[in-house]
Amino acid sequence: MSHLSKQQQELYSEFLKFAKTNVEPYANQWDREECISRKIIDICSEAGYLGGTVPAEYGGQGWDNLTYGIFNEAIGRSSISLSGLFNVHTMIEQTILKWGTEEQKQRWLPFMAKGEILGAFALTEPEAGSDAAGITTEYRLDGDKLILNGKKKWITFGAIADIILVFGKLEGKPVACIVEKNTPGLTVTPVKDMLGFRAGHLAVLQFDNCVVSKENMIGKEGFALNYIALYALEFGRISVAFSALGLLRGCLEICSEHVQKRKTFDKRLIEHGAIRKMIADMGVDYEAAKLLCYNATIAKNNHSPDATEKVMIAKYFTTMAAARHSSNAVQIMGAFGCNESFAVSRYYRDSKTMEIIEGSNEIHQMLLGKSFARQFGKVTKIKDESN
């Protein structure tokens, strides 16, 4: 039984066809040049994909979370770097949608949905990654304006984003504001030579006395880390989990074809036990990861209380599986897997990065370990009989 509705199955076919035509032929080139082309972003915009999860009233497609997931799977199968665009852009759209005022929604969402404005998410700093509370970027109140100083690093699509959601502290309280790219005092420096996500337009953002309107603050003071960032990162985890699923599928497709064609010692590779085991484990983990990813987004669609945890489980399992099996894919493909003209070598590098972003897998272990212990342990706090 498929977890996808007929409409979702049709959309998945459309997404795959789109990616095979417009993304796959160019992905290795983008990776080598460390640059996603503007042309593919425009093509995605015309297809309406930059507004996938945005409601129709703001010019988007109104996809549910599972549909957004399978879109990321299709794109991730062809280019993890491009999936990074949808990841961060959607995080900003969803943040504005959830926590923004109606004026803020009208100001940005219709343009983001059309791809006329690209968004980036700036939380990480040179000295603060997993420990987000340690950020030192600072907002200072100056009349009805905010003055922003600080530095953000490793910001995906930060080099070409039109608006950036910048997290910092205002009088010690975490806040998040939309900063436009042409703001005086903002210096954008592209980051090169990454292991993975090489074409993802990563950047260092330096803010020197940038003047930001108070009207650009999303939500209210004090809630930026525990609510705004966590809410946004959940969409990021959905994107990463499904993109890793796509990467896993890509490994399976390439390796499956190779092992049935190539011969060694007068036998096709698939006839060798060690190779067959690697393909079996790859296939089983793909099926398991798919179920976890589907299950997580269905839970989120239903607003289930355990949706957040299921999304974390999906991201944790799928990225680990992608890293393990892309390594095996390189092994199976031999020299082909070691050459950057072939997708497997790119998969291998990208998959490692996916274990680190949107909450490292060690952070997931800490949170999930505590949660499972609580769920399966005995609880003694019970209500008074009068309730």
Binding site: W99, T101, G219, K220, F223, N226, Y227, L230, Y231, E234, H303, S304, P305, D306, A307, T308, R374, Q375, F376, V379, K381, I382, K383, D384, N387
Partner: protein, 79 residues
């Protein structure tokens, strides 16, 4: 919908997430460490859907969500 009905629905929701049975309606679910802010976001989304209310940034006062009693009072006030 009565105040008690709301409390029952909210209590069931929290219990299903925390593996607790017989949650005290006045228990501070955050202070007791039963849930964290990630759960709070899910809770808010659930309340919006279940009780057809809209929770905005202005409602983000944790005193509204700290216990079954306070959540029920908040929902009644929003409806």
């Amino acid at each position: 919908m009565t105040d008690n009905n709301i409390k029952s629905i909210v209590s069931e929701y929290i219990e299903s997430s925390t593996n607790i049975t017989g949650l005290a309606y006045d228990m501070d679910i955050f202070e007791e460490g039963l849930v964290n802010s990630l759960f709070a976001i899910e809770l808010m989304t659930y309340l919006e859907k279940e009780f057809s209310i809209k929770i905005t940034m202005d409602d983000l006062d944790m005193s509204h969500f700290k216990s079954v009693d306070s959540i029920a009072a908040f929902v009644v006030n929003k409806k």
